[in-house]
């Protein structure tokens, strides 16, 4: 059965995009057909992890939302970015990185409710096992719609007071929207903080499971969101934690 997994955080900079791309990569390597869609239409970014430039992104989610193309026409096959050992398929559905397209979105808007149909269409047309939705931080129409259709919602946060407060709003929202499966993911945990204690504290605060506490990583920083971490550092402890997140996402 296919699954829609939505990654959300109340505040920016929590690592949603890197997590989306890397968890997707792990699942595709294992043999699943995976799509990752960037619905951060006003500030897209996930394409850089797949080493794509504006020239490579010929069609995008924007075209679908404007009624110009079918959503599957925006999918780019990025399976080759996973290396030779990939057993599945990996598709990226990017938002446009053309300044003129972003300006048009800001000026004219788009029919946001098309997203819901678009997710279903992608799962069917590309025969996906998993669709991962990478979102804009905070709350807006797109997030609300995506949360409402999520089979699993992953809420990311850093061990930081601003993130803690914002996450309580996100969790309340997910509860009101009756999202069945919600997990928390703590990211960028500094070396000074004991991950077990952080996990315990967060689980206690939100009465929800923490799937993993990902450490701050200099190696991740060194990649500057220009490559997939799990491919560059397959034996790194952080890759093992991404594997754990991937396990939980497809339960």
């Amino acid at each position: 059965m296919s699954k829609t997994i939505v990654l959300h955080s109340f505040r920016g900079g929590t690592g949603k995009t890197n997590t989306s791309a890397n968890v997707g990569a792990i699942l595709a390597r294992r043999g699943l057909r995976v799509g990752v869609i960037d619905i951060d239409i006003q500030s897209p970014g996930i394409h850089t992890l797949f080493e794509l430039t504006e020239k490579d992104v010929k069609t995008s989610l924007n075209g679908y939302l404007w009624g110009e193309i079918e959503i599957e026409e925006a999918a780019i096959d990025v399976t080759d970015r996973l290396g030779d050992e990939a057993k599945g398929k990996y598709y990226l559905i990017p938002s446009s990185i053309k300044a003129s397209d972003i300006a048009r979105i800001l000026r004219d808007g788009y029919k946001v409710t098309l997203l819901d149909d678009g997710y279903k269409q992608l799962l069917g047309a590309l025969e996906l096992d998993v669709l991962i939705v990478d979102t804009h931080p905070g709350l807006n129409d797109e997030i609300l719609l995506s949360m409402a259709v999520a089979d699993t919602l992953v809420v990311l946060l850093r061990p930081d007071q601003q993130d803690y407060q914002g996450t309580s709003i996100s969790m309340k929202l997910a509860q009101n929207l009756e999202v069945e499966d919600v997990v928390l993911l703590v990211n960028k945990n500094p070396p000074l903080f004991n991950p077990e204690m952080v996990k315990e504290r967060v689980e206690d605060a939100y009465k929800s499971n923490v799937v993993a506490v990902l450490p701050h990583s200099d190696e991740m920083l060194s990649l500057s969101s220009a490559k997939l971490f799990v491919r560059e550092f397959p034996d790194h402890p952080l890759t093992a934690l991404f594997e754990k997140v991937a396990d939980r996402c497809v339960v």
């Binding site: 404007w66 009624g67 110009e68 000026r107 004219d108 029919k111 946001v112 409710t113 819901d116 129409d141 609300l144 719609l145 409402a148 309340k172 929202l173 009101n176 929207l177 009756e178």
Partner: protein, 167 residues
Amino acid sequence: MQLSQEEIVGYLRRVSAFKKLVDEQAEELAKISQVRQFARGDELFKQGDKNGGVYIVVSGKVIIERELDRNNSSVSLMVAKPVESLGEMSLFVDAPRSVTATALENTVTLWIDNDDFVSFISRYPDLLLELCKVLSQRLVEAYDKIAEVTLNRKPRELRKLYDKLDF
């Protein structure tokens, strides 16, 4: 791009307003159709223009926009894709074009002059009825757009979700 008479008939038959044309009518309509090509960014017609004619998109895409007086801005109304028609309103309204049509990519169209078209449909009332259906659908879409633009109202699906957020 050159299109044979047979190919033009083929495209015309796929246009929703022309689906009920019999062979003889389709061939007659093809004879008064001209192929017109546009590069990306070219305007097929501009709001305020007085040239009358109906376009049928063969390949490419055309965006229809209503230009607004304020801030040099505009509202996108629709994107016409292959076998969709545009500009039919000029057949019935003796007024300048109410919208601007611009090619979003290199586009090939069939163009039928208003006088030729009126002369053609006046002999086939059934076709007139089909055209009315197309224009009525456009009117419904325009009402939706007006509601969206003037009320800035969330779609029903979203309103239901927002209703759940009463913390």
